[in-house]
């Protein structure tokens, strides 16, 4: 990481108990690695008074106890960490395969997506499954991983009106991002398929199937296979 990249770090107070650390203003791999390195370092050497982190594409929201820490102190402490990011070695990425049944009742928007992008359904599925995605971060609800980047030919805007509820396991696209909805929530992403895997399970040691920095591939499966895996 060239020194100039470290200079691009900017602090912004988000509330009286939180601080945003921005690594530039763009979604880039370099910014993503800085985010992960900062989280990694803060996990290894915790700063007393910090209560939570919310990583995103090129920022980390640091939440703290305002009775124990102030913004200035926290900025100074994090600045020292930022100077050390270059030497941090991140653990290797995990590779996770997610089986997906595309189209039909599983992916009610697949036909629209194909038509709008002037692709055949088969080509749309091929594009979605041929890419290895990066988990930029988890946000919105437990276990919801923001995956990128969707190939340009498949990148499509959100639905004009979000659905009131999306079935758990639904695989959606929004712009050049794709994701699996872990729970029945409202959602505006276009749904092209569904996975029988549970994305977030409180009774599993790793609650969330995916974590920041993981690499993900989608694997097409038949409705029969979906049913078998769903009941497994």
């Amino acid at each position: 990481m060239p020194p100039s990249a470290v200079h691009a770090v900017r602090f912004k107070r988000a509330s009286d108990r939180s601080l945003l650390v921005y690594f530039g203003e763009q979604i880039t791999l370099a910014a993503h690695e800085q985010v992960r390195k900062l989280l990694h370092l803060l996990a290894l050497e915790p700063i007393s008074g910090i209560r939570n982190f919310q990583p995103a594409y090129c920022s980390v929201l640091v939440k703290f106890d305002p009775l124990r820490l102030e913004h200035e102190e926290l900025e100074s402490a994090i600045t020292l960490y930022l100077g050390r990011l270059e030497s941090i070695k991140l653990p290797g990425s995990r590779h996770v395969e997610i089986p997906v049944c595309y189209g039909g009742e599983y992916g009610p928007d697949l036909d629209d997506v194909s038509a709008l992008q002037t692709l055949t359904r088969e080509k749309a599925i091929e594009l979605h499954t041929a890419t290895t995605y990066l988990v930029y971060f988890l946000g919105f609800v437990p276990g919801f991983a923001y995956l990128g980047d969707v190939p340009a030919a498949l990148a499509i805007s959100r639905l004009p009106t979000p659905r009131k509820t999306v079935p758990p396991g639904s695989v959606g696209i929004a712009g050049n991002q794709t994701a699996v909805y872990p729970f029945a929530t409202p959602g505006g992403w276009r749904l092209i398929g569904r996975t029988p895997l549970a994305m977030f399970r409180p009774d599993r040691p790793d609650l969330s199937l995916l974590a920041i920095g993981d690499r993900v591939r989608f694997v097409p499966i038949s409705p029969e296979r979906f049913t078998i895996l769903e009941n497994a």
Partner: protein
Amino acid sequence: MTTIVVQSPGLFTTVQDLGREGFGPMGVSPSGAADPISLRLGNRLVGNADGAAGLEVTLVGGTFLFPEGAVMALTGSDFDATLDNAPVGLWTAFEAKPGQTVRLGATRSGARCYLCVQGGIAVKPFLNSASTHILSGLGGLDGRPLRKGDVLKIGSAKAPFRKRTVAPEILRRLSPRKVLRATPGPQSDWFSESSLQAFYTRAYRVTEESDRMGLRLDGPRLPERSGGQMITEGVPLGAIQITSAGFPIILFVEQQTTGGYPKIANVISADLASLGQLRPRDEIRFEGVDWQTARSLLVEQEKLLSSPELNV
């Protein structure tokens, strides 16, 4: 074992404690009591630790039977509570004898009332907390609001019953506000002078679409200044987002953890508990304060909460 039998759950009653902070990287929002000051005081009245789990009752109360009896307190808003048809006061510990019933009516003041029992509500903790998170169906009792027929376990009580009350003068100073103090949001400079002026001077109304995830407000439309390109980022509790339609949403305890709308301001820590008492159609205003003021107001509030004159 001591229990509570839910004879009628009320409109929306959940198990809540002070939430599960620390799991943001998994997308887990803290949840917890919407009015944590009332929960903390309720717990103190019955001799619990501040963070013990209680019942959060919303707008319309329910009926709760105590087959083995229990020491308890009601805090927050006035829901016309009775113990076997005799009125019981707020902010005071009382004892239900075995077989007695506590009945809560509709609110006469704010949105929420807390029922705290000595020993706390015992549910299986999820990520170190008993708090219910409705959207993901996690925490609390099976991740859902209470239903008729539910039986809740009460934790083992340690202290003997003592008649405790909260000093009225302190209560008055801790009472919920309708003028919410706010610090600038990370994108406050995306809004025009006239938008900022409207935001800080005009009244907003809480809409019916408000819940523990967020309070949606109706009032002057605030178009953002052009040019901003928002990249999804982490959002703190009390963040005031302006939607593309130009209306504010205050992110609340069951908030989404990240968001892509610009934030004009953020409710200060000392006023977060007030959000938990806002009802649909309530009129509120925002008052801008600086960082130092926000901090002093919180320190002052915590001082009141640990004041010996509190009497609990």
